[in-house]
């Protein structure tokens, strides 16, 4: 039988909620049926990609406006983990970001690289009132 889990979260556009979103990701990873990999590693990775994507939505898209909202949906279906992070911003071209230069000691610019490294598929598209970063990973 198939394991279908859907979690949909809306929180104010504030970094104080990063920990909540990350913890929910960890809780989901720890609950998954029949996951063969390292569960604690998956928990960290889910926490991390949720934190990175939500931090970007808060700072880059919603420009720190605390009255805005971040909407996150986490779905597991057919052993595919799908995460969507909706922002209310102008968007950016996720495919034209420079590849990170590891010798360059930049303070910023590691978020999308981390997301791409840990997830199988990453897209960023227009959506009503903003954009949505969608990330997918196969769990089997």
């Amino acid at each position: 039988m198939n394991e279908k889990i859907e979690v949909d979260i809306k929180v104010p556009n504030q970094t104080r909620y990063l920990g909540l979103i990350g913890k929910i990701g960890e809780d989901i990873a720890r609950t998954l049926k029949k996951y063969k990999g390292d569960r604690e590693e998956l928990a960290y990775h889910l926490n991390l990609v949720l934190t990175e994507a939500m931090a970007n939505a808060i700072r880059h898209a919603n420009e720190g406006d605390p009255e805005k909202e971040v909407h996150i949906s986490i779905t597991i279906l057919d052993r595919i983990l799908n995460i969507k992070v909706y922002d209310q911003g102008q968007g950016f071209d996720v495919n034209s970001l420079p590849a990170p230069n590891f010798r360059n000691l930049d303070e910023h610019g590691r978020g999308i690289y981390i997301i791409r490294t840990l997830m199988d598929r990453v897209t960023y598209q227009k959506h009503t009132h903003g954009h949505v970063l969608e990330m997918e990973k196969s769990l089997s």
Partner: protein
């Protein structure tokens, strides 16, 4: 954010007393390190012993401290990394940048 900052002779020890070092609180760590640099304290150990989770902003704050310390002929070294935190440094190749020690005593002895 809870930071314990102590003069240890050869260096200043900053213990991060938080479970998460992320986009929510890493700005504060940066500010605290800048305050130390202003006082001429350029040799710093950051003890991440209590930290279970670091994101790219947390790494960024540490990179900022590292660059500032180096520019002042000082050094910023790390210790107490939990295995999953260690993995974050490897994922971003930053384990080649920082000197990383098991605990603060060993980090201190290296100055």
């Amino acid at each position: 954010m809870i930071l314990k900052i102590e003069e240890k002779g050869a260096a200043v020890l900053i213990e991060v007393k938080e479970e998460r070092l992320d986009a929510h609180n890493s700005g504060e760590l940066k500010t605290q390190m800048l305050a130390l640099f202003e006082e001429g304290k350029n040799d710093i150990i950051v003890d991440l012993h209590d930290v279970r989770f670091v994101d790219s902003s947390g790494l960024g704050a540490l990179v900022s401290g590292f660059k500032n310390a180096s520019a002042r002929n000082g050094n910023l070294k790390l210790c107490g990394l939990q295995p999953q935190v260690k993995s974050m440094f490897e994922l971003t190749r930053l384990h080649r940048v920082f000197e990383i020690f098991p605990d603060s005593a060993e980090a201190l002895a290296s100055f």
